[in-house]
């Protein structure tokens, strides 16, 4: 027995290495996937190195230099490459710092939603019956309330803060994962290898972790990646509506909401944060689409 299982491990390790190499080659061949990866890496670097690359403190106000245009417009200078906002804060520095919030909120709330959704999806799919009924009707009721409205209400009740925002985004968007994991579990659990594992007396826990999870995980990763994109937009929307990130913290959505009032005279304040959001989300979508092509050709959008 031991030698067989050791062999299996060796074989899977080798094929794992090979698979990773193949993935790498295919990424280099897929132009959009590569662009996506580069964008995501660039934004991540920007977030990590923010204190070193930003020229100013993002919250520092300087009324003398308020509403200065970007450098290529008359009156602008390289001191403030993308201009300043209504309180004289440097737009570029704020965009650099804003990437931290976008990525932090985007990634951590997707992880939270993923864990909750994975758990309920597995329970609903694997145990079925009453559990399935309760969980799926809860999913249905969550889906009947537009997610942005749901989040607005909870944030109004709990009061906006960074951690609440992550909890709310995670706590309301788990339903997507629960639905997907449930339906995958339902189909995997009837397959022969699960039946035979059950026949030799494997426990539920072992069946779930060893047989079902590995078969569900690739669709899960694809959906999670694509959801980082929509979560970044949701965070920006909530901050724009005033119930997300609060000053003095910096968020691209918040910058947009500040800049909106000055759109007639100082277009740059609202324009650049939107460009930052669009490029970041585009990168994540490209990366997610590429992952989907590779990991899970059967799901479509």
């Amino acid at each position: 027995m031991t030698s067989i299982s050791e062999q299996t491990v060796v074989i899977t390790n080798a094929s794992y290495g090979k698979r990773m190499r193949k993935l790498g080659i295919r990424l280099l061949k897929s132009k959009t996937g590569l662009v996506g990866l580069l964008i995501v890496l660039a934004v991540s670097l920007m977030a990590i190195l923010a204190p070193f690359i930003a020229m100013y403190d993002p919250a520092k106000t300087d009324v003398v230099h308020r509403l200065l245009p970007p450098f290529w417009v008359d009156g602008g200078s390289m001191d403030y490459p993308l201009g300043t906002d209504n309180l004289g804060r440097d737009v570029l520095s704020r965009i650099i710092y804003g990437s931290r919030i976008s990525l932090l909120v985007g990634i951590s709330s997707v992880i939270l939603a993923g864990i909750i959704g994975m758990f309920f999806g597995l329970v609903a799919g694997f145990y079925g019956k009453v559990w399935d009924f309760i969980i799926m009707r809860t999913v249905d009721s969550f889906l009947a309330i537009p997610n942005i409205l749901f989040m607005l209400i909870i944030l109004a009740v709990l009061g906006p803060s960074l951690s609440t925002l992550i909890l709310v985004l995670g706590g309301t968007s788990w339903v997507v994962y629960a639905r997907m994991v449930r339906s995958e579990t339902l189909s995997v659990k009837e397959r022969d290898f699960v039946r035979s594992a059950r026949a030799i007396g494997a426990k539920d826990y072992r069946i779930i972790t060893k047989y079902i999870l590995p078969n569900v995980i690739s669709s899960f990763i694809v959906i999670a990646t694509l959801n980082v994109a929509s979560t970044i937009i949701l965070e920006a929307s909530l901050s724009f509506l005033g119930l997300g990130i609060q000053s003095p913290d910096v968020s691209w959505g918040l910058m947009l909401s500040d800049g909106r009032q000055y759109i007639a005279t100082s277009w740059w304040v609202a324009t650049f944060p939107g460009v930052a959001i669009t490029i970041t989300v585009l990168g994540v979508i490209f990366l997610g689409d590429w992952l989907r092509d590779i990991l899970d050709p059967k799901i479509k959008d």
Binding site: F133, D140, A144, I145, P146, L149, F240, I263, V281, I285
Partner: protein, 304 residues
């Protein structure tokens, strides 16, 4: 019929759960009494109002009283406007419907020709351009697009009004804002649906009969390709309504979305509840209709 009935039955626990979720949310808001009375009110006055409103009862009892009120259509009064909350919500509904309808028209006008073109000219320059545009449309936050449209078409070139609702002119920018996002989604859908249909045998048969390509594409392929598109779009009702919250805020469009955002910011919970229920019922109904429509449009799908 049986199928419809079964699905209607399924919506009952969902509606109950929604009432429970909203009830819990509203009750966690803290003491509504302190919002209703002036700050100078004495503790006794607060206590008597609490008793009058039934807030001293245990939570389950409160929940059932609350359910009873809902069944009678009584959502309470808005403390901001001092009128019936549901009446307030219903009054805003036409504006939102107008915007949603116009956005759908914009979305259809953009996505149908582009989706068909990119499927027919698959992998061409057009296709690349259109699919690229669709991804871009998905990546842009709608409120930013709205602000940019204001910048270009209402400020720089003063073609359209910046905000408000006063005739057709006012409708165009909000409808473009909301419609573009939907169009991006729909273009991708129509393209992939068309590609699937164009590869099927009956299309080859139609072509080999010597039918003109235009007729094959428009009559044979597009009609069949529409089935999944219509269904998936009807399932997007929730997203569409979510979109109106933001678009209406950007353009000061006096609809349900704007009312809701204001009510949430003011913690005017009666209005929030009334609107949330109305939206939830609307979403559930349109999902049901989508499901039925899917079955009617495609007789191959069996009723179970």
């Amino acid at each position: 019929m049986k199928y419809l009935f079964q699905n209607l039955l399924k919506t009952i626990p969902v509606l109950l759960l929604i009432t429970l979720i909203v009830f819990l949310l509203v009750r966690v808001t803290g003491d509504p009494v302190s919002l209703m009375l002036p700050e100078t009110a004495t503790e006794e006055e607060r206590e008597s109002l609490r008793e009058a409103l039934g807030f001293n009862e245990p939570l389950p009892v409160q929940y059932f009283t609350y359910l009873g009120d809902l069944v009678r259509g009584d959502f309470g009064d808005s403390f901001r406007y001092n009128t019936d909350a549901m009446a307030l919500v219903l009054e805003r509904l036409p504006a939102t419907f107008e915007l949603a309808f116009a956005s759908m028209i914009v979305a259809i006008l953009i996505s149908v020709p582009l989706g068909i073109l990119s499927a027919v000219k698959r992998n061409s320059f057009f296709d690349l351009f259109i699919t690229g545009g669709a991804v871009l449309g998905k990546a842009m936050p709608s409120f930013w697009l709205g602000i940019m449209l204001i910048l270009f078409l209402a400020v720089n070139v003063q073609i359209f009004p910046v905000s408000g609702r006063d005739g057709f002119q006012h409708l165009i920018l909000p409808a473009l804002t909301l419609g573009t996002g939907i169009a991006a989604e729909m273009t991708r859908l129509i393209r992939s649906s068309m590609l699937e249909i164009l590869g099927q045998d009956f299309i080859r048969t139609a072509r080999s009969k010597g039918l003109k390509e235009g007729i094959v594409v428009n009559k044979h392929a597009f009609r069949n390709a529409l089935i999944p598109v219509v269904t998936i779009m009807a399932l997007q009702t929730s997203t569409l309504i979510g979109g109106t919250l933001i678009t209406e805020t950007v353009f000061a469009w006096p609809g349900l979305g704007q009312l809701l955002v204001q009510a949430v910011n003011l913690r005017d919970m009666s209005v929030v509840q009334a609107a949330t229920f109305l939206i939830a019922i609307f979403v559930i109904m349109s999902n049901l209709i989508a499901d039925l429509m899917y079955r009617m449009l495609d007789p191959r799908i069996k009723y179970d």
